[in-house]
């Protein structure tokens, strides 16, 4: 009997360790996935939004950065989001919580248009 118990214990221990490792490990893996999907960038350069169409998962925070010597804005055509005037190197962020296509433009230079596709 005693020998059997030892055998069972020696069998259970590695399994328990593996389960514990999994429990400890999995949230951190998920968090890593989450943070890489949660941020995306649009660069405003030479009067162009780049990339012009940005496709991101739901929950992503998109940050626009103005790299021009001239102020720009990033304003949703449908009134979903609206940046303040972004002078050189200023940023604007918006988190997309619903799937959909979000066209936007620069209200100062309306020829500048872009799109965020949220999936």
């Amino acid at each position: 009997m005693k020998r059997n118990n030892v055998w069972v214990a020696s069998l259970i221990a590695p399994v328990m360790i593996a389960i514990l490792l999994l429990l400890a490990g999995s949230p951190s893996v998920r968090a890593t996935d989450h943070s890489s999907a949660a941020n995306a960038a649009v660069k405003i350069d030479n009067f162009v939004f780049g990339p012009q169409t940005l496709t991101v998962p739901v929950g992503t925070t998109v940050t626009w950065t103005n790299s021009d010597d001239i102020p720009h804005t990033s304003v949703s055509t449908e009134g979903v989001f609206k940046s303040k005037v972004l002078d050189t190197d200023e940023k604007f962020s918006y988190t997309f919580t619903k799937a959909g296509t979000y066209p936007y433009y620069c209200t100062i230079h309306p020829k500048m248009t872009g799109k965020v596709v949220v999936q």
Binding site: N46, D68, D69, P71, T77, T88, I108, P110
Partner: protein, 337 residues
Amino acid sequence: MPDKKQDLIDQNLQDLNNDGVDRRGFLKCMAWAGTGLVWTMSGGIPASRAFARSSGKNKDAAKGADFSFVQISDSHIGFNKPANPDVTATLQTAINKINGMSHTPDFIIHTGDLSQLSKPSEFDTLDQVLKGASAKQIYFVPGEHDMLSDNGEQFLQRYGKGTKGAGWSSFDHKGVHFVGLVNVANLKAGGMGSLGHEQLEWLEDDLKGRSASTPIVLYAHIPLWTIYPDWGWGTDDSEQALSYVKRFGSVTVLNGHIHQIMQKIEGKVSFHTAMSTAFPQPAPGTAPSAGPMKVPAEQLQQVLGITDVNYVVSGGSLAIVDSPLGTSGSSGNGGGA
């Protein structure tokens, strides 16, 4: 890229050839100079030339004129990037140049982008500099930089007293009818400049009943003719506005926004854009974008300037002279136009 520029010249030439020539003058020569497109016309019809190259002739332009006014544009007070770290100083130079003219202009028209970011402090600085101008009356229309954040509320309070809508208005001066238009409000995604239905209706009404012999001057920030759609250098509904002035014998359209001289004559309508007092912008299609163009510091004053318009009643014509800020003859002792 030079091809695009050439296209533009060709297009302009074509317009001239197709206009039915009901004008007293004709185009004599055209060339690119350091300051932009230079036109010379005979018969006292709008002339535009590099001030530095023909200062002798410029003195004649003012002679016999019944009155003159000056257009300044795009002072962008608050801009401090390498293309011009001191835009207040260059605006001051422009005002000094106006004050040094042999004839005092009756008034000044500022065709917008007074400020860089519509900040109260920027408008304050502008006011301080303009206070020193010999001409006390100044008319303004806003540029897109003057309408940031507050839909132009502040601009209207400071510079739009007595104007309608987003700041449009008209006035008469010595037989000439002036109309200031606003084409930088409520711009639509993907579009260019826009006047909007309400303003167009007002314009039609404003011009109604005026004699066709009344010289008309239209001024607005963004060009009222399509110069380069890729960069938004035009006004979507300008066609409509121009249809209201077709019956008039002399129409001059003065714009800013593109920070360089461009001209086109279509029938009896002369289109003209002015240099900036702050920084130059590239010729259409010659750069990746319309952003500020950096030139060597010693060349900056050759690509900034003012526009002097002389009106002669007898011919009902206006002579337009563009003057770069940096010219040998501009030093305040009557050497100006």
